[in-house]
Symmetry: C2
Subunit: 231 residues, 2 copies
DNA sequence: GTTTTAACACCTAGGTGTTAAGCT
DNA sequence: AGCTTAACACCTAGGTGTTAAAAC
């Protein structure tokens, strides 16, 4: 186990999209046709579309870095998705986790994107869940609405692949037997990032400042610095 | 119908209590022993304790007023409760509504506090619900986490009694037949208030400024004003 | 006259990268 | 040297009563 681990808080809110931006099919990650386990109809037709894909691509091209701190830090860009094809009468559970990866493509499991049962729900990292905690686990008498997101522990200087899981809450008594077919995992490779305690690539810093509203206070400084180098 | 209606947004967060303040039995509203309909065991043992009761009492003594605006306004003090006696394995739905009342005690229905089936769930005002919307109604594909609270329409210059409802989500197919026994209503009379567009009682204004952190900016002004009158 | 609106200054609350100091 | 921490100034975001103008 690595020497240190840092909490990482994904930004709150998943599907806040104001019904804008069709974004085109390029942003969606379709299900694998060759999935070994036949999925339940409740999840088989579900598809997920990544929001802000253009911004994710821009970061990914430079090698996305995410600051991690002891107290927890939001991720930027935000991991937000639109969901399609869910049964409005069914109950679902939405999960997210982060799988450690290295940069050698050969070590990336084949068929990893989108769903491959063997490397799905249980992983080396803690899973984050939002949406009704009382569905995930029975509601305690108090704290019915904690924070929308929990904290994730990541190791600095390591690279991670976020994953998104849609789990159908099977009402059948023996639902454990159908665990494999009742969920679907979605992976967007452009959301991969390196966890750091301080930015390593100055161009990442500049892109963060340019695109994150909360970092607007540094826009003057970085443009001045760029000018000084240019001429 | 009255000429105007204003959205009213209850402050977010219901049971955020940090496990402090036992508050004593005086703050809780026990169930009526003479309830005509025998309640389901899932709700019969549920009890609710009002948070910040001392502050509510202080406001109530002066005649609580709540500002309502077109865009919606939080209430202060916040309506927060602690819940006890719920079955951790059961699903519940929590609702809140506001019943119009006038000041004549004779017109207040007997046995209104706590639960009286006749005047419970359906009321003249819209109901607010927080907690998982996908339990209240099936989750739409988008907007899975909207705001924690919805908007309430209240009429200015009218008096209201907030109510809190705990509803057991009965898994039985014919659950409609048990609607009366599957919920329990709690009423705290000290949370009654008058909806206004501008404060009528200056002592209410002073108490709001003194107790609401967001109004701290006016504390110097009001103390100066008080000094000017005193001598 | 009374009631309502909208702009405003002043707060709380919390998300940024920066920076200097600390750690290994 | 490199990595980590904590305090900091600077933002966004939004909850207050105030005030003067508008509406009725």
């Amino acid at each position: 186990p690595p020497p240190h681990a840092y909490p990482f808080a994904p930004a709150a809110g998943v599907a806040t999209s104001a019904a804008a931006e069709p974004e085109g099919p390029g942003a969606s990650c379709a299900a694998a046709a060759k999935a070994p386990v036949k999925k339940n109809a409740k999840v088989a037709g579900v598809s997920v579309q990544l929001e802000m894909k253009a911004l994710w691509d821009e970061f990914n091209q430079l090698g996305t870095e995410m600051i991690v701190t002891k107290a927890g830090r939001r991720m930027f860009p935000t991991f937000q998705v639109k969901l399609f094809g869910m049964d409005p009468m069914a109950d679902y559970m939405l999960l997210m986790d982060f799988v450690p990866v290295d940069d050698k493509p050969s070590s990336w499991p084949r068929g990893f994107c989108p769903t491959y049962p063997g490397n799905s729900l249980p992983t080396q990292t803690s899973a984050v869940s939002w949406l009704p905690p009382q569905i995930l686990s029975p509601a305690p008498p108090l704290e019915l609405i904690p924070h929308l997101v929990f904290q994730i522990i990541l190791n600095s200087m390591h690279r991670y692949q976020p994953r998104f899981h849609v789990v159908y809450v099977d009402p059948r008594k023996d639902s454990e037997k159908y665990a494999e077919e009742n969920f679907k995992t979605f992976v967007f490779e452009e959301t991969r990032f390196t966890a750091v305690t301080a930015y390593q690539n100055h161009r990442i810093t500049q892109l963060k400042i340019a695109s994150n509203p909360f970092a607007k206070g540094f826009r003057d400084l970085s443009s001045r610095e760029t000018e000084r180098r240019a001429p």
